[in-house]
């Protein structure tokens, strides 16, 4: 297992190289970074445009530019951005914001998904199963901005009932005064509540669908039949045996989803005005800001690969039938 782990970690380096080079090429041919400047009213003088081009290294050939970026990484230089930001510092900040936003949501979604899977598998095709499936699929097919809007409407009504602003509809709490610890807790709840619900509902939808089916398969497997034959209680069979073997596929989806949300939660971040990784990616792509996107790729790519690695290790831990050596 240790050898496996080391091999997987080592292979991440060439993978990041390949991914970053491909992404570099893709973004470089996706548009002109200076387009925004060139379409100002009026456009800046040619000297200014030229100075910006030099700053963004656009006067250098492609391979040189990639090499400059790569070598810059070793000294902590993530490259120049059109908007004059320190990409490295920005990444750290945004990662923190995204993680804060996601952590609670992922945990919540996972718990709900497990509960829903159990109900769905044990009571398959019952009314409870149908309703849960209905809700789960609705969550997957519902656009986030609609869900967010309804949540915000609800929040505004709640605030009006309570007489003070408990729930916030946007922002991460910047500039709000919270003197006492209790105030701080309230502020945290107020700012996190809506985004967490929105995110976890989305994730719950997908995960519970996979979990249900995985648990159904597990409950029909001979491994579980054996447990039943041994005379164990149904609860114990379902929870200790069925759930455990069904966790492998479910973990896959969680691992994949958790990392994907990091990048693709753009709409959620826009709707709740959290300046996270998704927002960074979108602005980077829209502005053809190649070094911003590469910075994002480094962070998100590593996270995705690590998540997948953790999931793979957990399979072997959870399911004794799985072995990686031949």
């Amino acid at each position: 297992m240790l050898a496996y782990l080391v091999r997987r970690l080592l292979v991440m380096i060439p993978m990041m190289l390949i991914a970053s080079f491909l992404m570099f090429v893709v973004i470089s041919f996706s548009g002109d970074p200076l387009a925004g400047l060139k379409t100002m009213q009026p456009p800046p003088p040619p000297e200014v445009l030229h100075a910006m081009a030099v700053k963004l290294r656009l006067d250098q050939p492609l391979l040189d530019r990639y090499w400059m970026w790569l070598s810059g990484l070793f000294v902590g230089d993530f490259g120049p951005s059109i908007h004059n930001i320190d990409i490295g510092a920005e990444l750290v900040k945004r990662l923190g914001v995204s993680l804060r936003l996601l952590a609670l949501g992922i945990v919540l979604a996972f718990l709900m998904a497990v509960a829903a899977s159990v109900i769905g598998a044990v009571l398959q095709f019952s009314w409870a199963d149908h309703i849960i499936s209905f809700v789960a699929v609705a969550m997957i097919s519902m656009p986030v901005f609609w869900l967010a809007l309804q949540l915000k409407r609800l929040a505004i009504s709640i605030n009006q009932e309570l007489g003070f602003r408990l729930l916030y509809t946007s922002g991460d709490g910047a500039g709000m005064t919270a003197s006492t610890p209790w105030d701080r807790v309230l502020l945290l709840i107020g700012v996190l509540a809506l985004p967490t619900i929105a995110l976890s509902m989305q994730a719950f939808g997908t995960w519970s669908r996979y979990g249900r089916v995985a648990l159904i398969d597990a409950l029909n497997s001979e491994y579980v039949k054996l447990a039943r034959a041994k005379g164990l209680s149904e609860t114990r069979v379902v929870l200790a045996h069925g759930l455990r073997t069904s966790l492998a596929p479910m973990l896959t989806v969680v691992a994949a989803g958790g990392a994907v949300i990091l990048g693709e939660s753009v709409v959620t971040e826009t709707v709740f005005q959290w300046r996270g990784m998704g927002d960074l990616l979108v602005t980077g792509i829209q502005n053809n800001d190649v070094y911003v996107v590469l910075g994002w790729l480094l962070v998100a790519g590593l996270i995705i690969m690590v998540f997948n690695l953790i999931a793979d290790i957990l399979y072997a831990v959870l399911d004794p039938r799985i072995r990686y050596e031949r």
Binding site: I18, A19, S30, P143, V213, A214, I216, S221, G257
Partner: protein
Amino acid sequence: MPSSTPASAMSDRAVEIGQAPAQEQVYRPWRAIARKFFSYKASVVSLVILILIVLFAFAGGPLWKYSYAVSTSDLSAPPSWEHPFGTDHLGYDLMAGVMRGTQRSLSIAGTVAVLATLIGSIWGAVAGYVGGWADSLLMRIVDLIMIFPLLAVAAFLARQSQGGEHGWLLVALVLATLSWTVLARVVRSVVLSLRTREFVIAAKIAGAGPVRIIFRHLLPNTVGPIIVAATVLVASAILSETALSYLGFGVQPPDTSLGLLINQAQGAISTRPWLFYFPGLFIILIALCVAFIGDGLRAALDPKQQRK
């Protein structure tokens, strides 16, 4: 019904000898599967509704009096007999728009679901069964694709193409290429736990090659997650297209899709709600129907599944 594979013949023999029969998939004639499927009410109802939606989308266009590309003089009209889904602020009939949009969205979702399911399941099964360095290579490629943000690829391609009649196909291909990865991982994880099972070993002893083992023994046992993936993909394909057109990379006007329609109606949710809820309703209906059909299909195909 006689089973015709040597492996199953073997399992019969195993029963004779008195051992616990090796669990494995036996191919049953389609009639039995169909009968099983039609006993699941939710799935049947969903199938009917889905067929109606498909008819509505593809056959409704020419039959309906308004075209989605022609604006009438009824601006922002709420639903009425004249315009059952209402009109938008330019007088375009929404029902015509929804028909056309459903066409596009179904095409995209269908393409994505079929392609991604095919690629993902085969890829994952091969990787899980073969193991070793081939498995590593295949899964590292999966990792690589997972890292690539959909947005960047879509932006790049949007620049190269520039909309037009077949813009939706490009969107569908992009989405398919980037979404088969999760299924590949799921299938692989299931196959990993299956490949040490007796029926697989029995099949190998009986001389079955890897292709046969994968397609006749392993994949059928992963039919559960595969169907779920396909159904989830349908819904998420529509929503990914929505996210893409939100940022300007998806289906372009004057062509329309359900995603584009709900994006355009984003600000109107409380003022002219019909513009949002009708396309949204179709999205949810399609996703729900596909999901319940999938549930029924999976249960019908699974021999271990007890009839309820």
